[in-house]
């Protein structure tokens, strides 16, 4: 088997959807990740969409996507007979990811000092909604609430009306970004701690409050407030800034949208006008704005907007953006995610992966690697575990429980 970044790292994942991308990143980087769920399966198995729209704990595409590459065990961690098993699992782990409700492990007698006693080299990564203390510690949240409180929503949405007021709400971009933002940063912290452990040998407790992780991940709104005490205003498909900027999305001939990032550099603006001219939409621009110094201000913007509207409207979504991009114009098709599956660029880079589902006798396309590392290839698969699929393998051969002990745990509904 090819080398992997984290081939010697063992991870135990406890909790729900809040921490699943973090475990998925570990699995992709080659770590051995065990996802622990309550008997019957965890709550994220109830998330849509489902295979052929059949709600079933083994058929949640949400669960498949965020748990690919992990092995799965079930355990009722609150049960008295479970504690020894849980302790064995923790003792063999390099990293424990914990997104259980606050203080769950501590309530089972497994607070940080106890965990350290079990495993002095343990890296214990806590994903908490708001942190382990503070006035909002016990506030309830989900992805939407985090995107509201953390700031992304007030930056995202549609243009105000001409009078500056809004008749559309702030928008939360879909697809679990609050959890993704937090898990990306939690993973960074955990790998940092693994590197530190190579030097000093010690474990670490790391708390990643999702609210804080989201709040630091917007872009210019916070520095603009800190340095100039000015608000920003949300705008359709472009940056929330102090002033309303020129339109950036245009409808294509086939009723889709393309985007154009205007004038990052003067060279890019010049290339754009040249390109529009070649396509037959530059006459007015060339006539009215001959020299580059005149190419600014509202009249120029309006003229450019007319040319872009006409040009984009004359071509289909995929027809000309590549030609423009090859000239370093920031022109891009607004694709549906699945439209990338057939793109030759991603095929060459193996950005998507085929994953087998032997239980269904089928194979599906998954989003695969976030990067191309040929010496340590990213791993996508095997498919996410069925509830308790690896109980026997892990409790038996890896923790050393006898067949009779496993049988008894199963009989008592502990696993």
């Amino acid at each position: 088997m090819a080398d992997a970044f984290l081939s010697d790292v063992k991870v135990l994942e406890l909790g729900d959807e809040k921490g699943e991308l973090c475990g998925k990143l570990f699995a992709g980087a080659g770590a051995d990740v065990i996802k622990l769920e309550p008997p019957g399966g965890g709550s994220s198995r109830l998330n849509a969409p489902f295979y052929h729209d059949q709600p079933d704990p083994a058929r949640s595409l949400y669960f498949w996507h965020y748990n690919v590459g992990k092995r799965g065990v079930t355990l009722d961690i609150a049960a008295r007979q479970a504690k020894g098993v849980l302790e064995k699992l923790i003792a063999r782990s390099d990293v424990v990811i914990d997104s259980l409700p606050l203080d769950t492990l501590a309530g089972l007698g497994l607070d940080w000092p106890a965990l350290q006693k079990l495993n002095p080299r343990l890296i214990y990564l806590l994903l908490t909604p708001f942190g382990r203390s503070g006035p909002w510690r016990d506030y309830k949240a989900n992805d939407l609430i985090h995107l509201a409180l953390g700031g992304p929503m007030m930056c995202c949405g549609y243009d105000p009306k001409p009078d500056g007021t809004y008749d559309t709400p702030p928008i939360a971009p879909q697809m679990w970004h609050a959890y993704q933002i937090a898990c990306n940063q939690a993973f960074i912290a955990a790998v940092g701690a693994l590197i530190g452990r190579e030097t000093h040998g010690n474990g670490e407790l790391i708390d990643v409050p999702i609210h804080q992780a989201v709040a630091v991940s917007t872009e210019v709104d916070v520095p603009i407030w800190i340095y100039s005490k000015k608000p920003v205003h949300r705008q359709t498909g472009r940056h929330a800034v102090q002033r309303i900027s020129p339109q950036a999305q245009f409808q294509t001939k086939d009723g889709r949208y393309s985007m154009l990032l205007l004038g990052i550099t003067p060279r890019e603006s010049a290339s754009l006008i040249e390109f529009l001219t070649e396509k037959g939409f530059g006459a007015e621009l060339n006539e009215k704005f001959k020299d580059s110094a005149s190419r600014r201000g509202p009249e120029f913007n309006a003229c450019l907007n007319r040319a872009l509207t006409q040009c984009m409207g004359a071509f289909g979504l995929e027809e000309i953006w590549k030609e423009a991009a090859a000239r370093r114009i920031s022109w891009a098709a607004i694709r549906l995610p699945e439209e990338n599956l057939t793109d030759e660029h991603w095929r060459m880079r193996q950005t998507f992966a085929r994953v087998e589902h032997p239980e269904l006798g089928e194979t599906f396309d998954y989003v695969g690697a976030p990067t191309l590392a040929e010496d340590c290839p990213w791993r996508t698969g095997p498919r996410a575990p069925l509830p308790g699929e690896h109980n026997r393998e892990i409790y038996g051969s890896q923790l050393g429980l006898s067949a009779a002990q496993i049988e008894e745990l199963a009989r008592n509904g502990i696993i």
């Binding site: 969409p49 670490e204 100039s228 699945e338 989003v367």
Partner: protein, 414 residues
Amino acid sequence: MLDLTWVLAGGGGPRLLDALGAEAIRIEWRDRLDTLRLAGPFVGPEPDQSKPRGPADPPVNVNRSGIFNDINSGKRAISLNMTQPKGREVFKRLVAVADVVVDSFTSETMRNWGLGYDVLKSIKPDIIYLQQSGWGYKGVYSGFGSYGPVAQAISGLTEESGLPPPYPPAGWGYSYMDWSGAYYCAIMMLLAVYHKKRTGKGQYIDGSQLEPSIYLTGTAVLDYSVNGRHWKRSGNRAIARPQAPHGTYRCAGEDRWIAIAVTSEEEWGALAAEMGNPSWTADQRFRTMAARVANQDELDRLVGAWTADQEPFALQDRLQKAGVPAGVCQTAEDRVERDPQLRHLNWLIPLPHPEIGIWPIKNVPFHFTNAQVDQGGPLGRAAPCYGQDNDYVYGEMLGMTAQEQAELRAQGII
């Protein structure tokens, strides 16, 4: 770490490693400065590139950008003219004492300078080289450039955000893929450093801003692959479970909104009680979760009518006390000036800068118990001035004499 990154998608990656204790050395040259050095808001006077300069002097006032100060916090900086052969020779001396080289140029730049991975490896056999370009080096679009909005458009992140047609996609009101691109830049460097600690081997990584964007598009690709279903936007509504009300509701004040997400019958009961159990809540159309989901448009109108004249933060606290998930759509001002939880978590830390003084910098959101980890890094400072660490890097690290440095300065190399 030799940091040849630009703006945020690149520059944010080394920033995170600094917070974890690495030493990032930013390499800059005055003729092609990072656009963030020239982007406001500024503290004091703006940059002026028109002033006459000597062979190696930077433009006036390039150390005063607030955004640059935040994104490059904790780093060192040197000036080095990589466009000159002599500058590239100096760079090679730096490679010999580095662990990691990272750049976010377009994909041919380093090769054109004769600084591809094979060359870096011949200087330092265990070097880690992360090339964090827009689209990646391998592939048919390697020459294309990318900014956050481009990555978001192509990947599908833009299309996934917004209200259903006839509305167009709302997309992202900032470069989501700049910070997220930076996270994957940091992730790949850290993974390679860990791997090197264990095996002694360096490596080359062909990274991009586009692929992490695709990685973050959630379940849409699988839904297509399995069910043949194309993605459809649904605003702020719940997509994974039948849950309603689930959305944003207008409050008192200008452009003030609260997000409310009722995820269970119990939470619905609590919300109805807070609303004073108006008779419509007992209506057939709203009695069960399934019924509320089926009648969401009307439900949203009724909930919105109730929130419309209420102060948003008082409403948030009241609903949370009643056990209803709710949160104000917070602005930057709300987060910086008021949010008591962010304050409790010390999300901004004061860090010094030699020209603009002490400013609050966004801290990393990971709280370590044993190790000292914060955004000041080992140096305990905000962003570097242009060329601030030339003496340390060229003198102490490379052992150049003062005379050698003076000559390079006179030749326009450092």
